[in-house]
Symmetry: C2
Subunit: 350 residues, 2 copies
DNA sequence: ATGAAAGCGCTAACAA
DNA sequence: TTGTTAGCGCTTTCAT
């Protein structure tokens, strides 16, 4: 008869009752352990954890969702960044969710939509979502943030511009990496360096531009207006900006595009114009997407730990959700700095 | 007091009870309408549907999940195809899931992993997943399919090789599109056309190769072994194959790579070798990924309706899940044919 | 520090 | 054709 447990374990899954029985406690105690509550004796806790491990027990998210006063679905909100960036984000977020027993809900958005706030509101209510992860440019939609707060929905932001605003976020040192990249180009002998700024609604665009300015000033190179073009992080805007920069009488010898997609656009135009890369023009991007290796010649670019950022942002969100309003303390915002320049030969300088 | 409904609608969500009350029926009847059960009078059904619409009621997936004998989470299984392909898949699957009140669970896999079957089994049991969507190359892992059937888990396959095997699938006419593409090249005057085959574990690789053979034979062109290289659908294998093909004494004047990533690899090598594209060499890919436009020169390629395929496959799966074992009838497998050749100038021939 | 009981929103079996 | 009842697995009171 004891074999029954095995049978049950096979077809249905292990429930909290079986864990409780195994550990010789009530289900409530198991629940306490599960939810990291405090009123559990260390010894009891260990017994329960052992039982959980032996039975390979995993709490049923639907049941928790239904019974608890917060849900176990967290949503990743995104508006159409590049596919590879998004896949990295997803991968990181998924890992954290899996590890913590949450479900990840994907929510594609249109960040300029007038209904954005309404859509998110209904999503959040329908799925009882206690928190959302905001990726750029949604990280900085003030109206959205306000509304989330009204709804009592936690959020964790990735690469925001306004870091002063409350709540956890994860960012990298775009400015510093950009500075390093420009310095690298300068050390290679470049003097006239053009830049294609990123989308004004994305924080990264700002920081990367600032890094450029800082480096140029630091090396006493003139920052000429004609060397600065506006882009929007997509291939087409990169091409448009490149046409502009490469039509200058005194052409830049290097162009730093705010991301790889735009850099690919520069490369495309340079080829169209018969400009030799890297002979007559160096092209640098940002993000280290697969594209940067696939174009010819390969781009100098900067690697961002996107999946790690998402993993961290997700963990912060989950922490917040768990201690929903327990203390007013926000977790320390984390700043990743592990950016790495990969130059077109694959070498990492310094 | 009647305003209360509004209040409630705002904070918690509408439940089946409110719908029942509004429609003047029992909750069970509402449930019947929700689940497309048959024993409901047309007039009653309409009343219920009206109430649902007015209240903007959406059933709580967690509750259904918990109470029902099948879950409302369906999983998308994938092993690392290109990010853009995967994003398209996701988008399509998400849309169908949203429309039908299912949750989509993302499950990255390692298709060669020895534990694959075990991992899927535990995923399926833990999340009470009644069905999975299989994308290539998982669509053709016979062992996995067997196991899913043992577990009573439905599946819907995307672009499978073995279409004889039971269950719904969605595919495109890779063979025909490939044939058309090669014909296009031949009509452009090419005679020595090299091919880089796709990954042998992916159905698409087979069909595309067959289309090539058929076209070559049809035009009485010799199919020489040295013109056939093996690739694996990734950029690096495309480069390797290109090195091989372009080292031939009698070089091909055109290379058809099984997908865009490999085609980008060909382009890269051609540039390295100083071969002018398209002057001395034409390069064609398959999939119409963003990459095909970003490289220089743009690739001739074939557009696949990936999101539509996923949408359809997901709908088929959901149908199957709903009438779980009701009839032995499988939904008719659907064959999409809307492939479009986009040549490197952006023109669509014919 | 632990347990007993109630109930989350829904579906399933059984009544009517 | 419709309604009633009893749970699904868990968290939440509230009691001990």
């Amino acid at each position: 008869m004891e074999g029954c447990e095995q049978m049950l374990g096979g077809s249905g899954s292990v429930t909290i009752h079986q864990v409780a029985e195994r550990a010789g406690v009530s289900i409530k105690t198991v629940s306490r352990v599960l939810n990291h509550e405090i009123n559990v004796r260390a010894e009891t806790k260990e017994r329960v954890q052992a039982a959980i491990a032996e039975l390979k027990y995993r709490p049923n998210p639907s049941a928790r969702n239904l019974a608890g006063n917060h849900g176990y679905n967290i949503a990743l909100l995104y508006d159409n960044p590049s596919p590879s960036y998004l896949m990295d984000l997803q991968r990181g977020a998924l890992e954290s969710c899996r590890a913590e027993g949450f479900h990840l809900i994907l929510q594609p958005c249109t960040y300029l939509s007038r209904d954005l706030a309404r859509e998110i509101a209904s999503l959040v209510e329908e799925s009882r979502i206690p928190g959302v992860i905001l990726s750029p440019p949604l990280s900085d939609m003030a109206g959205l943030l306000d509304q989330l707060e009204e709804l009592g929905v936690q959020h964790s932001r990735i690469a925001p511009i306004d870091v002063a605003r409350g709540g956890p976020y994860v960012a990298v040192d775009d400015r510093g990496a950009s500075y390093d990249l420009i310095r690298h180009l300068i050390e290679l002998g470049h003097r006239r360096i053009g830049i294609i700024k990123g989308h004004p609604d994305h924080g990264a665009g700002h920081w990367r531009y600032e890094g450029y300015l800082k480096a140029m000033h630091h090396y006493n190179l003139p920052v000429e207006d004609e060397l600065i073009a506006q882009g929007y992080f997509d291939f087409d805007s990169g091409m448009a900006a490149a046409r502009q920069l490469l039509a200058l009488k005194d052409r830049p010898t290097a162009i730093f595009a705010g991301n790889d997609d735009m850099a690919a656009g520069v490369l495309h135009i340079a080829h169209d114009l018969g400009i030799d890369v890297p002979g007559q023009l160096s092209v640098a991007g940002f993000d280290d997407t697969p594209l940067s290796r696939h174009v010819w010649p390969s781009l100098t670019t900067v690697r961002q730990p996107v999946a790690d950022m998402a993993r961290l942002a997700t963990m912060q969100l989950i922490d917040l959700v768990r201690k929903r309003g327990q203390s007013g303390e926000h977790p320390a915002p984390s700043m990743f700095c592990s950016l790495v320049i990969r130059d077109s030969t694959g070498k990492v300088p310094e």
